[in-house]
């Protein structure tokens, strides 16, 4: 027996109505001053689900098929981390391509010596679930905008067991002027499927995070695809104009309400 009723010994919370304003675990009530039983076990289940998401395998075959359906080519690549256990303990290996994948890109470059304006990379990161759910529509938005700008776009690179910096090596080998990587962020309890976008201008192996711009939390319940691609386009245009990316390139995009309606205002100052 556990619920929030007075019979359980937990106290009611008089600010329950706030719960529809945020996905955060607010107004949980209390047992004494501690977490009531239901909230406690809900949390434990969410943690169990997130643990399971970390270990879900990356289905890059299905993703390649989905891209083909959108008439997009893809390249199937693998990082230097051979399996999940290695990946979790050796980020250095997840940042580099395997020997075979590097060779494959080298061959691609020989056949496409002019390079590209933009390379798009998709990597599983810490949540293949995020990529499975969000990568295809996100890529469609980005490619649409790139086409409108007249930029040439490389085939989409799908990297298994990849980390953010692997995009720099992919882009360098493809001869791309800009790169954006779509990668599964580490799963949260309420968000096992959050996608992160990292953008680099003039990418090359060895760049640090100071040279990247990040747009995080792209998913159904978070930042919309339209908003994310709007911000990304702003960054890419500014990067082309100023020939740099990272901390010196502020995200000053005017943010129109492209989706999701009017943000609800702070009620504490009404």
């Amino acid at each position: 027996m556990y619920d929030d009723s007075p019979l359980s010994g937990a106290s009611e919370t008089p600010w329950q109505q706030l719960r529809n304003l945020t996905p955060a675990r607010i107004a949980l009530g209390r047992a004494g001053t501690s977490m009531p039983t239901r909230a406690q076990l809900d949390f434990q289940f969410a943690h169990a689900q997130a643990r399971d998401a970390v270990h879900l395998p990356f289905d890059h075959g299905a993703l390649a098929a989905g891209l083909a359906h959108q008439h997009r080519q893809s390249l199937l690549l693998h990082s230097a981390a051979k399996d999940r256990d290695t990946y979790l303990q050796r980020p250095d290996l997840g940042r580099r391509l395997s020997h075979e994948s590097a060779e494959l890109l080298g061959q691609h470059r020989e056949n496409n010596p002019d390079g590209y304006d933009l390379a798009i990379v998709i990597a599983d990161g810490l949540s293949a679930l995020a990529v499975h759910r969000n990568a295809l529509p996100m890529v469609a938005h980005i490619e649409e905008q790139a086409a409108a700008e007249g930029w040439s776009v490389a085939p989409v690179s799908l990297v298994s067991q990849g980390r953010v910096a692997v995009a720099d090596e992919v882009a360098e080998l493809l001869g791309a002027r800009m790169v954006v990587i779509l990668i599964g962020e580490r799963p949260g309890l309420s968000s096992p499927d959050s996608l992160g976008l990292y953008f680099t201008y003039a990418p090359k192996v060895g760049l640090t995070d100071a040279y990247r711009n990040c747009i995080s939390n792209v998913r159904q319940e978070g930042l919309s695809y339209a908003m994310a691609s709007h911000r990304l386009l702003y960054l890419m245009r500014e990067a082309c104009r100023r020939q740099l990316s990272g901390v010196n390139l502020k995200d000053e995009a005017e943010v129109p309400l492209l989706a999701g309606g009017v943000p609800r205002e702070n009620f504490l100052l009404g």
Partner: protein, 464 residues
């Protein structure tokens, strides 16, 4: 460069530099294996600890782990060392220093006077030969008090940073988490938002919103939006009300460069914050976050172990008289701290070393979903840090950060620690909680009301 050797159990172990002894003496953790600097087995680790225990503290003033010419953090450490303050322990070895710290000569006053005489490397070295109980006991002797709009770090007090993050920075969602936290007695260290996107216009809006809430309800606390220091400077230039200036920092010049900062940029941020004169009780206004593994993560560790790199970051922090320093211990992931055991030890090391060096230490007692850790591990670390006298911890709704995707201490966790250890919030904030009718603390036990405080009824009424 010196070499060291130690013979034990019929075997002689040789270490080719001070950095090697330090690294191999470190209790085992995944990040040092990743860096290739860890001891190769348990025997070598203890032999390194024995060799380290025999090294005179004075040696740390003659052998820099990263060359003076190559690193501005080393230059800061050497140039700011206070030889007179060092005098009471200058005759000791690292092992002798551990004994001294545990003994009666080390008390609140003597440790406060000693802090400027210690280098980060000395603190890191002695911590490596200390057990968990030593790290707790010595830290408990030390008090580091900081002031801005209230007083944090007094004995018998434990504060929280109310962290009302929201996945899209929506004002109503942030406000809901703020109110929830305030009603659970959290938020005296600060109300500090990690923004979802680093857009200058939305950062400025959030700063104005936090300032508005603090003023409207006359909350004796301070606000922070955790954005890059250069963005904070820009916000200040735009005339936006900003209390605490945030920055992530690390223990080497190259690692700081990977964060896009240098001592010069930090000084500019500090000066910009001071220019606003917003502190009413004091002018500690920098808020730094650190964490073991950040230097290695940036490929900027110079062959040092991660705990020594972390402690060097505290030299950077103390140069700017911070309001709060937060070691975000389990955020970085299992490649640096693999499991609950490693996270617990690292949190206690960081708290101890920071306090010993004179910093107002707090800890983000946390883990990610790809680490081998869970709520039980966090309860252990929270309890130990509470006993050790930590200045502040995080407070978030239900331990679940819905923006940063990790788990840290909840509003309820803070109340657990306050209740079980008899700790109170910052005095100014405690008085506010009573005045607002949120809760009172009688007989050492917090007592919460079951009705909404009048000041907030009107705000909720508008929501319909």
């Amino acid at each position: 460069m010196s070499s060291f050797q130690h013979t034990v159990g019929g075997e002689t172990y040789r270490f080719d530099s001070l950095a090697e002894v330090m690294a191999k003496a470190s209790p085992a953790r995944s990040g040092d294996f990743l860096a290739g600097v860890a001891a190769s087995n348990a025997g070598e680790r203890v032999a390194a600890q024995m060799a380290l225990a025999d090294i005179p503290l004075k040696h740390f003033l003659t052998e820099a782990l990263i060359p003076y010419e190559a690193d501005e953090v080393t230059r800061l450490i050497i140039d700011s060392h206070d030889l007179a303050a060092f005098a009471p322990v200058s005759h000791l070895t690292v092992g002798g220093f551990r004994d001294w710290l545990l003994g009666d000569s080390a008390d609140e006053a003597s440790l406060r006077a000693l802090a400027p005489g210690l280098t980060p490397e000395m603190a890191a070295a002695v911590s490596k030969i200390m057990r968990v109980q030593d790290l707790v006991l010595v830290a408990q002797k030390i008090r580091v008090v900081s002031r801005f709009r209230n007083t944090v770090g007094l004995r018998g007090r434990m504060s929280t940073r109310l962290q009302p993050n929201h996945p899209t920075d929506e004002p109503a969602g942030i406000a809901a988490s703020i109110l929830d936290g305030l009603l659970y007695g959290n938020g005296d260290a600060m109300i500090g938002i990690n923004p979802a996107t680093d857009s200058i216009s939305s950062i400025c809006e959030m700063l104005k919103m936090l300032d508005g809430i603090i003023q409207r309800y006359e909350i004796p606390t301070q606000a922070c939006v955790l954005t890059h220091v250069t963005t904070s400077i820009e916000a200040i230039n735009r005339g936006v009300p900003l209390d605490l200036v945030f920055q992530s920092i690390a223990g080497t010049e190259a690692a700081n460069a990977s964060f896009g900062v240098s001592l010069k940029i930090l000084q500019e941020g500090y000066d910009a914050g001071l220019s606003l004169k917003r502190g009413t009780l004091g002018d500690n206004l920098m808020y730094f976050e650190t964490g073991q593994g950040s230097a290695l993560s940036a490929g900027a560790h110079h062959g040092l172990d991660q705990q020594t790199c972390e402690t060097r970051a505290y030299a950077v922090a103390r140069h700017f008289k911070p309001f709060l320093v937060n070691t975000v211990v389990g955020f970085i992931g299992p490649e640096y701290l693999y499991n609950g055991k490693q996270i617990i030890r690292a949190g206690l090391e960081d708290h101890f070393c920071g306090k010993l060096l004179g910093l107002p230490m707090g800890c983000d007692i946390c883990y990610t979903n790809h680490a081998e850790a869970d709520q039980d591990d966090m309860d252990v670390l929270l309890t130990l840090l509470g006993v050790a006298g930590i200045n502040f911890i995080m407070g978030i709704p239900g331990s679940d950060d819905v923006m940063l995707n990790y788990q840290t201490t909840s509003f309820h966790d803070a109340l657990y620690a306050r209740q079980s250890l008899g700790l109170k919030p910052a005095p100014e904030f405690e008085a506010w909680l009573q005045r607002m009718g949120i809760f009172t603390q009688a007989d050492g036990r917090p007592r919460m009301g079951n009705s909404l405080p009048p000041a907030f009824r009107q705000a909720l009424a508008q929501l319909g």
